[in-house]
């Protein structure tokens, strides 16, 4: 198994698990937040879609420049829109990943903020970090939101109190 194969398999596994969480977000509680400083449930779920979207930026180019002043975050207004956006982003990412080989994953990728290089790392590392771990981090947060919203929590890596 090559590193690229391993990353593809992992992306499939994690996005499948993530969809089960997103399906359970209650449509009438998208404005709910557990604390005044927290994301709302809708913002958190939208941000999870954004994690998937990094895949294209990582593998279709060798750098990405962010200007926080003009960056517009993904925001969905309903659960059907959330799932449609997620599915479309996953499908695009799968197409991008299909053509990635072992040479591509070792290429350096630069993150720039307002034109200044923030870091440079191999693409495999950036993908693990910005897409997969980032997604799993926020999905972990979403699991606590679901619990607090009295929604049965799906298992991710082991049993939950509900499954």
């Amino acid at each position: 198994m090559t590193t690229a194969d391993a990353l593809r398999a992992e992306f499939d596994r994690e996005t499948r698990a993530t969809r089960r969480y997103l399906e359970r977000v209650p449509g009438d509680r998208l404005d709910w937040r557990p604390h005044q400083k927290s994301f709302t449930a809708g913002e958190l779920a939208s941000h999870i879609v954004e994690c998937v979207r990094w895949t294209e930026a990582i593998f279709n180019g060798d750098e990405f420049n962010v200007d926080p002043a003009t960056f517009t975050p993904v925001r969905v207004a309903s659960v059907p829109e959330l799932l449609d956006t997620f599915d479309a982003d996953v499908a695009r990412s799968v197409r991008v990943l299909a053509s990635v080989g072992d040479e591509a994953v070792t290429r350096p990728w630069r993150m720039k903020i307002r034109g200044t290089v923030r870091f440079e790392r191999p693409k495999a590392m950036v993908f693990r970090d910005f897409t997969l771990s980032h997604l799993i981090h926020h999905r972990g947060q979403l699991s606590v939101y679901l619990r607090l919203l009295e929604v049965p929590v799906p298992g991710a890596y082991g049993p939950t109190a509900d499954e």
Partner: protein, 168 residues
């Protein structure tokens, strides 16, 4: 690209993020939980500090029984402040680092088993098991950041800025 190096680099990066989360653990809140069906905070923070030990076990041992037929092995003393959690993380990372530095990509592709009560639950390559372990670590650390927010702690920036730390 060498898998051992990829895993090691990623483990180091995730350990840094885990350290940030463990450094702000409020003392004496181990029994707190946000919902009656949730895990207690102390258990969650214990996993965030100790999961790198699982990586070491996957590399160096043939299998692990999470519920051995002879009953659980001796319990660890519960940790109750940030210094104890950070020290546990340092120790578990040291074990994971040392195991990965002494292994090979070929060994990571060999099989490994997770058992419960003597019965196999998961059989997969060591590499896949390590990957799942890192993901599992990130999952529980994500949960922990919501607990920290609800407990009134200062939430550190991890993959991006938090409401308390915009410096990212």
């Amino acid at each position: 690209m060498k898998l051992t190096q990829l895993v090691l680099d990623e483990l180091e990066r995730e350990a840094e993020l885990s350290r940030r989360a463990l450094e702000v653990v409020p003392a004496g809140k181990a029994d707190w939980k946000p919902h009656e069906r949730s895990m207690i905070f102390g258990y969650l923070a214990d996993m965030v500090a100790n999961i790198p030990n699982w990586v070491a076990m996957i590399v160096t041992q043939p299998e692990l029984d999470v519920a051995p037929p002879g009953g659980p092995q001796q319990k660890r003393e519960p940790m109750n402040d940030s210094a104890a959690f950070v020290a546990a993380l340092d120790k578990s990372m040291s074990a994971a680092r040392s195991a990965l530095q002494q292994t090979t990509d070929e060994h990571l592709m060999t099989g490994w088993r997770l058992l419960a009560g003597g019965k196999p639950v998961i059989e997969s390559s060591r590499y896949i098991m390590i990957r799942d372990t890192i993901n599992h670590w990130v999952h529980h650390r994500g949960q922990m950041t919501v607990y920290l927010r609800l407990m009134g702690a200062r939430v550190p920036a991890l993959y991006g800025p938090s409401a308390d730390d915009k410096s990212f």
